[in-house]
């Protein structure tokens, strides 16, 4: 049962992900964004199968619910017709392939070096308390660094959106 569900969600995630970047039926950015929402939803399904309910819920809440809505918001305010007419350029294809390849390399290198997961009997717990403890003890430094990173991004956005810079 779990295996079948895993293959279904994994297939859906890959299929929707493909449709985000290369949809044969439409070059409409809004359609791409909607397929990205579906990709995120399929990933949340995979998290549920790993019994990471908290991650699954946060995945939907933050990415599908907030980030993608902002994406849609911006896309709708852009001039979409120019975007739909645009052809693929060689430079863009090469740059895209290089960055995707680099990320793939990092993933594979990490996978090879990490030991396989310990067989634990999965529980149906959300485990927010355990997660909170880990974040504030073992992973405190990375956690705080991420928050500084977010703060930097936020200050940058505020600065960029000011019209008159002096």
């Amino acid at each position: 049962m779990q295996d079948i569900l895993f293959y279904i969600f994994a297939y859906l995630a890959l299929q929707f992900g493909f449709l985000v970047v290369a949809n044969p039926f439409s070059r409409n950015p809004v359609t791409s964004a909607m397929f990205l929402v579906l990709t995120i939803a399929s990933l949340a399904g995979l998290f549920v199968l790993l019994h990471a309910f908290f991650l699954a819920a946060v995945q939907v809440l933050v990415y599908a619910g907030a980030v993608m809505v902002l994406f849609l918001f911006v896309i709708m305010l852009l001039d979409l017709r120019a975007e739909e007419r645009e052809r693929l350029r060689t430079f863009e294809v090469v740059a895209g392939l290089i960055s995707a390849g680099a990320i793939l390399f990092i993933f594979l290198a990490t996978l090879v070096h990490s030991p396989p997961g310990i067989q634990q009997s999965p529980t149906a717990e959300g485990g927010t308390i355990a997660l909170g403890r880990l974040l504030f003890s073992h992973y405190l430094l990375p956690f705080e660094i991420v928050s500084v990173l977010l703060l930097v991004a936020m200050v940058g956005v505020v600065l960029l959106s000011k019209k008159n810079l002096k």
């Binding site: 809004v30 939907v60 809440l61 599908a64 709708m76 717990e125 485990g127 927010t128 308390i129």
Partner: protein, 343 residues
């Protein structure tokens, strides 16, 4: 019978019952809305179909289905069809985790007793904006589009305030599970979280109005400026679905409010705050939950006819510069008090 098939059968029964009751409430919320508005404005309201106009929802449904379903030529077809369906789904999914009673026999009266309960709710609620945004985009014309854009900005803003307003609740309860929240509120009426975190309650209540697009925050469909907003290009049952979606959202939000702040299915008298031992008490507790929920829903309808609409900049100002700082302060103060008192 294996435990799995037993689980599947009982879940299916619960899902069908909850869906039926929700749809019934949605249909009659429209009737109540029209009667209440009539009373407030010194009119009669619907009184032709059946006694007191009680069959009006059925007549409306027949009318919606039989009207011509006209699709304007300039719309984006796929999204035009998808949007009304997407509007309904989130509210129905939210209801799945609300404990609407203690137990009947050995069955817990909740469809899915999730440990990350409220996070799931907020995740699903945040998806609710897609229906309206896509409806605005699908229409491919000015006013619906503006309605869609407005609603996405409004929903994102108030989602933050709403999410942060309930954090003190979970600090007190010590978990995200909604059954746990209810068992925390037993014992005395002053254990209800409305008395323990009144500020959370107020922010949640206001954000609830904004999230369900009800007056005084119904900016996405403000008739005077947007000629109706995101639903301008719709007709027939697709148009009706937007309204059913709105009332389903109000019902889900009322159920959530009752669960979080008003003690859920409990009453602090005659042992009604303990899980039911007999079938009769179990049914009584479901009725208590429904009664509380309907009172909240009645209040939501009542407020609609008492308040003028906010201006868009006032709405944003209230959300970002009043409620978010207030909710943050609320979290910090609650955490401090808990830290000092518990230690």
């Amino acid at each position: 019978m294996t435990p799995f098939s037993q689980f599947a059968i009982f879940s299916a029964i619960k899902i069908i019952c909850v869906f039926a009751v929700t749809m019934f409430i949605v249909a009659y919320a429209v009737w109540v809305e029209r009667k209440v508005s009539a009373a407030i404005q010194d009119r009669h309201g619907p009184n032709r179909v059946g006694p007191f106009g009680l069959l009006q929802p059925a007549a409306d449904a027949v009318k919606a289905f039989l009207k011509e379903d006209f699709t304007p030529a300039h719309v984006r077809k796929v999204y035009y069809w998808l949007a009304p369906a997407i509007v309904m789904i989130p509210s129905l999914l939210t209801i799945a985790i609300i404990p609407f009673g203690s137990q009947l026999g050995h069955q817990k009266m909740v469809i899915a007793d999730l440990n990350v309960g409220v996070l799931y709710t907020f995740g699903i609620v945040s998806l609710g904006v897609y229906g309206i945004v896509l409806a605005g985009y699908a229409a491919n014309s000015k006013y619906p589009f503006l309605g869609g854009i407005r609603s996405s900005a409004q929903l994102i803003s108030y989602e933050i305030a709403m999410g942060m307003s309930v954090i003190p609740v979970f600090l007190l309860v010590g978990g995200l599970n909604l059954s746990q929240v209810i068992s925390y509120q037993t014992g005395s009426i002053f254990h209800w979280l409305i008395f323990k975190c009144p500020l959370s309650f107020i922010i949640f209540l206001v954000a609830m109005f904004a999230e369900t697009n009800r007056l005084p925050f119904d900016l996405p469909e403000s008739e005077q400026e947007l000629a109706g907003g995101y639903n301008v290009e719709y007709s027939s049952i697709k148009f009706a679905l937007f309204f059913m979606g709105e009332y389903a959202a109000v019902t889900a939000a009322s159920a959530m409010l009752v669960t979080l702040f008003l003690g859920g299915w409990t009453l602090p008298i005659a042992g009604l705050d303990r899980p039911a031992a007999t079938l009769g008490v179990g049914i009584l507790q479901i009725l208590i939950f429904l009664a509380k929920m309907l009172v909240v829903e009645f209040m939501v309808i009542w407020i609609r006819w008492m308040w003028p609409r906010f201006r868009y900049d006032q709405l944003m100002d209230l959300g970002w510069r009043r409620f978010i700082p207030l909710a943050l302060a609320n979290i910090v103060v609650t955490a401090l008090v808990l830290c000092l008192v518990v230690k």
